[in-house]
């Protein structure tokens, strides 16, 4: 029996943000494009088990904490009653479902076909699809956009329903009385705050000596202070040395301490690239020891027909980086002179308060022995922050001492994730601190803090 063979210009493996951005742009540029996705859907981890569901839950957490705080100014809503079924339904149908239908509609409009199944490279020009729609696809170019999955805890091989990864935790199977969060990075802190707001007693354990390693300490400080109030315990510089399901709960040994029992544990120790089983060894593409597909500045692998975008190409594993990479690769395939030459990939942690930064950080400048001017503006002096009752914020601007050029911006505080956009624009377009200072910012808003910080550099 002969194979069903399909010939296309571009085969995109994986329907996440990197994959669909590449596919849509390819289609716009007149290339016949298909997307092969395990679940036959567009959106990937970002839409179904990452950015979007976590932000939906964080919004719920924010409403709960605002309602609680309202007592301060004389408004009492009473104790909240949380029903998980409507919450899950709202998240999966009104939020995720709506966006997924939107993406499917765009794909249809651009004539990008989504094929369901597992894709395996057979050589530099063909892919075999197994699963519901088995077929062989020959391509002129393939784009690997298979993303990443939650990493498991090395050395602790436990399988238990009580042990969740971020994907499972976003399903909110229950509100555990005591939750252990393993990992004090952005995923652990975001989900830890969600569960704390829903009523869990949350313990965060982090191997390193600080939360959010990589972000500047003065930004993290504001978040850490709030976490200390919300969480039952934060154990830094502590390893999980033992973990087992006792039938009635998860028994964990943290560092040298006595075993503690939790109702559930969330493992949030990073993500690893989805390259195993892809068959990339049948092409000339190279994969690093850590499993990342190696690409050049245009996103091309060592195989001239195989490209890669997104988490599978390395850090930072962020959807917005993948989306830009996807567009670059599509245009490169179409023969345009492009490269992923972006200066900044802004990072946002959607905790309360939010932490966001872009470009050069103070810590990085110190590490590289690079002289910088740093301007800080504490939100205690912001009128808008006072009206929100949230003065626990800081905006800082890192500038080149010779030219005054903005090299980096870091913000902590409610809404930092939105405010960082101006910082990203400033760094990406090589603006001077003077440009930021001389631009009128709306009063009273938190965006003024950027202008205020920039002004201190002019004196």
């Amino acid at each position: 029996m002969g194979d069903l063979v399909r010939e296309v210009d571009v085969a995109v493996v994986g329907g996440g943000p990197g994959g669909y951005s590449a596919a849509f742009r390819c289609a716009e540029l007149g290339l016949e494009t298909v997307v092969i996705d395990l679940e036959k859907r567009l959106g990937g981890a970002c839409l179904f088990e990452g950015c979007i569901p976590s932000k939906a839950l964080l919004h719920v957490a924010a409403v709960l904490s605002e309602a609680e705080r309202a007592k301060e100014f004389g408004v009492d809503f009473g104790e909240p009653r949380i029903s998980l079924d409507p919450l899950r339904k709202w998240k999966s149908e009104r939020v995720i479902g709506k966006l997924a239908r939107g993406l499917a509609g765009v794909a249809k409009g651009k004539s990008v076909e989504v094929i369901g199944g597992r894709a395996t490279f057979e050589d530099s020009r063909s892919i075999r699809v197994t699963g519901d729609e088995p077929q062989k696809i020959t391509f002129k170019h393939a784009i690997v956009a298979t993303g990443s999955s939650p990493a498991t805890l090395p050395g602790l091989d436990v399988t238990s329903e009580r042990l969740m990864d971020s994907t499972a935790a976003l399903e909110v199977p229950e509100i555990p009385g005591r939750l252990l969060v393993i990992g004090g990075g952005y995923i652990g802190l975001e989900l830890g705050q969600v569960y704390a707001a829903l009523g869990s007693a949350v313990t965060v354990v982090e191997m390193l000596d600080s939360l959010l390693a990589g972000a500047d300490a003065d930004l993290v400080q504001h978040l850490a202070r709030r976490c200390q109030k919300q969480f039952a315990a934060i154990k830094l510089g502590t390893r999980v040395t033992g973990l087992r399901d006792t039938g009635g709960g998860i028994e964990a040994r943290l560092g040298d301490g006595a075993p503690e029992t939790f109702d559930r544990a969330l493992v949030a120790v990073g993500r690893r690239p989805n390259t195993p089983g892809l068959g990339l060894e049948t092409t000339r593409a190279r994969v690093s020891e850590r499993g990342f597909v190696q690409v050049d500045e245009r996103g091309r692998t060592a195989d001239s027909h195989v490209w890669a975008v997104g988490d599978v190409t390395g850090e930072p594993m962020l959807a917005h980086r993948a989306m830009r990479q996807g567009k670059v690769v599509a245009e490169a395939i179409a023969g345009r002179p492009v490269a992923f030459d972006n200066v900044v990939v802004p990072a946002v942690v959607f905790t309360d308060p939010e932490v966001a930064w872009c470009g050069l950080t103070e810590a990085q400048a110190a590490r590289e022995g690079r002289a910088v001017n740093v301007a800080k503006f504490q939100w205690a002096a912001s009128g808008r922050a006072a009206t929100l009752g949230r003065s626990d914020g800081l905006t800082k601007l890192i500038a080149d001492p010779d030219t005054g050029r903005v090299l980096g911006v870091g913000i902590v505080g409610p809404g930092a994730g939105e405010l960082i956009a101006e910082g990203a624009l400033a760094v990406e377009t090589a603006l001077l601190a003077e440009d930021v200072a001389l631009t009128i910012h709306t009063h009273p808003t938190l965006s003024e803090t950027l202008m205020e910080a920039a002004e201190t550099l002019l004196r």
Binding site: R284, E315, R405, G408, A430
Partner: protein, 454 residues
């Protein structure tokens, strides 16, 4: 399948180069980054490394030949394993030779540091964490640069904080391509007696404006010898033709009494030497011209006839014509208006040394806004230089002489320096030129003003 390798973008907006040496033969197996050939551009000699490991299937060029960016140099056979860093059906012509070209002229033989090609990085690092730091430019400008094949690292930015603007990129793309397309060259017999130099090849100069009439047959009057022009000579010839043909030149003459300045230099010669600096008249000339240019910005400009605009430069970078062994070279010194004389003298000494040793970099040779040519050392009473296109003016300086001058009814010996200011009559008129020249003369006659930066 053969894989052609084309002349990569050499940066600087250079569009063609002359092959000086070919280091490989057909059938050779070369390693990645091994030297393939050496090309000479308008500005420097550059070594082209192999983009990959492989066997040379076919050689498309030979020494003396002129090649354009994008033209096939060699074809690699399939035998060699692709060198991971660059694997494609066509080795990418848009690829930059180096992310940061470091071309150094070494005694006439230059090599381009084979820096890391735009190839696979071990793992994508977060942009913004790059060590060397990105070139300050907006994303749309960066896109324009890619479209025009301009290496942003080779462009100096005129925007705030050194930001590279669209205009900078367009200028870089146009620079060096002012010559029309020269037709294919005819080989000429190599001149004997210079074994180290690859043979120069005769080829017509690019034409500007008027078609030159055919030359008479000189042989009818006696024996002749035909000597091909070197690449540098041809470049100079073409540039001078361009300038003399396009620009209506007008020259203003004057003389500066530099008796006091000369005494000042002599008084401080030793103490400057103690700080490792040779104090020369040229350093003072540079300062006098720079300060006068700030006052008279019309002469620190370029005419854009297509736009009908005068592009006034808000920076003062002065070119100093130097007679080097290979021919005329004009290294550029930056921000002279803002630097103290002693610093100018020190930089001038270093630059002269670099040029003499053939170690001037591309950066040393570009970006000038005005040129000074001092022919005093070679004698003469004056000269009318040709403007260094696309600048507006050039200052010619001859040898200072003691002359009898009447002062208060007395005849006294004074040291007079003959100057000639040649400028573009499209941009300025005689009165403007006279005022600008007078400003320079007055500064030279009152050296205090130079020391004070007035």
């Amino acid at each position: 399948m053969a894989r052609p390798f084309v002349l990569p973008d050499l940066g600087e907006g250079l569009t063609e180069a002359e092959i000086r040496q070919v280091h490989v033969r057909e059938g050779d197996v070369v390693a990645e980054d091994a030297p393939l050939l050496e090309v000479e551009t308008d500005k420097a000699t550059v070594e082209i490394p192999s983009p990959m490991a492989g066997r040379i299937e076919k050689l498309h060029v030979q020494p003396g030949q002129s090649v354009k960016v994008g033209q096939v140099l060699v074809e690699f056979g399939d035998a060699g394993a692709p060198a991971g860093k660059q694997a494609a059906d066509t080795l990418d012509p848009t690829r930059k030779l180096a992310s940061e070209p470091k071309t150094v002229i070494e005694g006439g033989r230059a090599r381009q540091a084979a820096s890391e090609p735009a190839g696979t990085r071990a793992e994508a690092t977060p942009a913004g964490a790059r060590g060397a730091g990105p070139v300050p430019a907006t994303p749309s400008t960066r896109r324009l640069a890619r479209e025009l094949g301009v290496d942003l690292h080779a462009v100096s930015g005129s925007g705030p904080g050194g930001r590279v603007t669209d205009d900078d990129v367009r200028a870089a793309a146009n620079g060096g391509s002012s010559r029309g397309g020269a037709p294919a060259a005819e080989r000429a017999p190599a001149p004997a007696g210079r074994p180290s130099e690859p043979p120069a090849v005769a080829k017509p100069l690019a034409r500007v404006g008027v078609e030159p009439p055919p030359l008479p047959k000189f042989e009818q009057w006696g024996p002749i010898e035909r000597q091909p022009l070197s690449h540098l000579r041809r470049t100079i010839a073409e540039r001078m033709t361009l300038s003399a043909t396009l620009i209506p030149h007008v020259t203003h003459f004057d003389r500066a009494d530099i008796t006091d300045l000369d005494a000042l230099i002599r008084r401080n010669l030793e103490s400057a030497k103690g700080r490792g600096v040779t104090l020369t008249l040229t350093a003072f000339l540079l300062k006098a011209a720079a300060l006068s240019l700030v006052e008279h910005p019309t002469f620190n400009a370029s005419l854009d006839p297509a736009a009908g605009e005068l592009i006034v430069k808000r920076y003062v970078h002065l070119g100093v014509a130097v007679a080097a062994e290979r021919g005329l070279i004009v290294p550029v010194m930056r921000h002279i208006d803002k630097k103290p004389i002693i610093e100018i003298a020190r930089e001038l000494g270093e630059l002269a040394r670099r040029v003499r040793e053939g170690k001037a970099t591309l950066d040393d040779l570009r970006g000038g806004t005005f040129t000074i040519t001092n022919i005093g050392a070679l004698g003469g009473t004056g000269a009318i230089p040709i403007i260094n296109y696309p600048e507006v003016a050039i200052l010619g300086v001859a040898r200072g002489r003691e002359e009898a001058v009447v002062r208060g009814g007395q005849i006294v010996p004074r040291l007079l320096l003959p100057l000639s200011l040649t400028f573009d009559h499209r941009v300025a008129d005689g009165a403007d030129g006279a005022r600008f020249a007078t400003a320079i003369v007055q500064r030279l006659e009152q050296p205090d003003s130079l020391l004070l930066g007035l």
